[in-house]
């Protein structure tokens, strides 16, 4: 994620980045082009708002003809801003950041596996297949007022693994992966979280890590494995796993029309576009209708807990409207964060926000399982 400073000098000032930026469309204080020019010319980046407003969704990086690392330049800028004493506005007073910070501070006996009890989910603490639950248990408590159910994705993943004859381990000593800390320029907290998670991987010695969250997957692959060599095994998103084993899953006919939103961390950051589609289409009877802007051009959910504002809401409303216009019953996503942000957009009393159902891919696939499905 470190961007050699010289790469910025390649910028031609063409402005493609700003023209595709979902934020710049509604919030003129952010312009990736201006940001890159300032960096290239060595001028100070003074508009802090712009630094916090970026979604790091890589829409701009993908279009840049000069391959300037635009999104990767943002975390170092945020770090500089923090060093200057500037702070992001942060959603809900940054309670989620505080939660991650507390996890980084001590090895507390976490009670994060309660969701296992009320279900017939088969897990085994000694299994070498590790299901990484991420922050989902905390999200469901903290965002209960938004009717967020990110644990449905985790439960779905357990059911899918069970149907494939795998019994995963879920661990109480897992911590936040530190993705948000890393991307928001809070390197210290990230490193503390990573150090504790790396010790956990050393204890668990998994042979396969399955995630439901592309942010966790990206962080485990790009940061943990590169910096610390852990986990020393494959890290796979549950959508990939389903795509690889479509023939082995007994899936019942499910009459439904869905549309899929590519999460930026799964799509543009990791270029996994076919896997989630293959996973959804493995369900017989399921009709997948593409959004007008999909795959590499997909619009980000505008999830940014550093600076959630009117622009975020408009991006989300546009996305939900585009989803509703496809005529689908359900908007499927493969990222718990996308679910939270889009549900949040729906939670107001604004009648112009389409009220279509939002579900996680793992929950949709698990719901179609012939045995053990919900």
């Amino acid at each position: 994620m470190t961007a050699p400073a010289t790469q910025v000098l390649r910028c031609l000032d063409c402005g493609k980045c700003t023209s595709v930026c979902p934020v710049a469309r509604y919030n003129h204080s952010l312009s990736p082009r201006r940001l890159m020019r300032r960096l290239a010319e060595g001028r100070p980046v003074s508009t802090t708002e712009a630094v916090w407003d970026c979604l790091t969704c890589m829409q701009c990086d993908r279009r840049c003809p000069q391959e300037v690392p635009i999104s990767p330049s943002v975390p170092p800028l945020r770090r500089l801003s923090r060093e200057r004493g500037e702070k992001p506005a942060s959603t809900r007073c940054s309670a989620i950041d505080q939660m991650a910070a507390l996890q980084s501070q001590a090895d507390l006996p976490q009670q994060r596996l309660d969701w296992l009890e009320d279900d017939d989910l088969q897990t085994d603490p000694d299994s070498k297949i590790l299901l990484w639950t991420g922050c989902t248990p905390f999200f469901d408590v903290f965002f209960a007022d938004k009717e967020v159910a990110t644990l449905e994705a985790v439960k779905g993943a357990v059911r899918i693994l069970n149907a494939l004859g795998m019994t995963p381990a879920v661990r109480g000593d897992e911590r936040c992966c530190g993705h948000d800390q890393l991307w928001s320029g809070d390197e210290d907290t990230f490193e503390q979280l990573a150090a504790r998670n790396v010790k956990m991987f050393e204890r668990a010695e998994p042979q396969l890590v399955v995630t439901v969250c592309p942010e966790c997957q990206l962080t485990l692959i790009n940061e943990y494995q590169r910096r610390f060599g852990q986990p020393g095994c494959r890290v796979v998103h549950v959508a990939e796993l389903v795509a690889e084993h479509t023939g082995e899953l007994g899936l019942a006919e499910t009459e439904t029309t869905v549309t899929f939103e590519d999460p930026c961390r799964l799509g543009r950051h990791q270029e996994k576009y076919d896997e989630p589609r293959a996973a959804l289409q493995a369900v017989p009877g399921l009709e997948l209708r593409e959004l007008p802007r999909n795959r590499g051009g997909a619009v980000c959910c505008a999830g940014n807990w550093l600076a959630c504002n009117q622009a975020s809401k408009r991006i989300q409303t546009d996305l939900l409207q585009a989803a509703a216009d496809t005529g689908s019953d359900t908007l499927v996503t493969a990222c718990p964060k996308c679910m939270i942000h889009l549900k949040c957009a729906q939670s107001g009393d604004d009648p112009s926000v389409p009220d279509l159902e939002i579900r996680d891919l793992a929950a949709v696939v698990a719901g179609a399982l012939t045995n053990g499905g919900a």
Binding site: K87, S90, A95, D97, Q98, M99, L102, Q111, V141, D186
Partner: protein
């Protein structure tokens, strides 16, 4: 200081009832434990999950949130909002692995000086029983004491 556990307790008291209640306890010269630090908020409904988590992050052993009795809120429904937020906070702390007895939500009116004193003594006793918070880390007593007064408290950033 060494050997004896001196609990660090942060109390969020609302401006209209509880803070005045604490005042009543003081002016009435009711002896009670001095081992707590009061942060005055306009309403108990102002105290959200972040404030409580931040207190623990800064080395607190216990956090008490106190407001007007239900029905007496200066802002009509602020304390109902406080209940909602407190329930979330408590559940988050439980999941994080902290004893839920380390946090408490109570109602104290401006006239209830004796009740305030009793409540504080009770809470201090419970926290003393539980011992130091595992999140204290290397945060020293002086550092903690200096926190809210000397340093800039940064709620709203990590």
């Amino acid at each position: 200081m060494s050997g004896k556990f001196d609990p660090r307790i942060v109390v969020f008291a609302c401006n209209w009832c509880s803070y005045a209640g604490a005042d009543t306890a003081g002016t009435s010269r009711i002896a009670h434990s001095p081992g707590f630090r009061v942060i005055r908020t306009m309403c108990s409904g102002r105290v959200n999950t972040t404030h409580v988590l931040q207190a623990f992050r800064m080395g607190a052993d216990g956090v008490l949130v106190s407001g007007c009795h239900l029905g007496d809120c200066h802002y009509i429904f602020g304390n109902h909002w406080a209940i909602k937020q407190f329930d979330i906070t408590k559940e988050m702390l439980r999941m994080l692995g902290l004893e839920t007895d380390r946090v408490r939500l109570e109602w104290v009116s401006a006239a209830e000086g004796p009740r305030w004193a009793e409540l504080i003594d009770e809470f201090v006793a419970r926290i003393t029983e539980l011992g130091p918070s595992p999140l204290r880390g290397e945060i020293g007593d002086t550092e903690f004491a200096a926190g809210p007064v000397g340093a800039e408290v940064e709620v709203g950033s990590s």
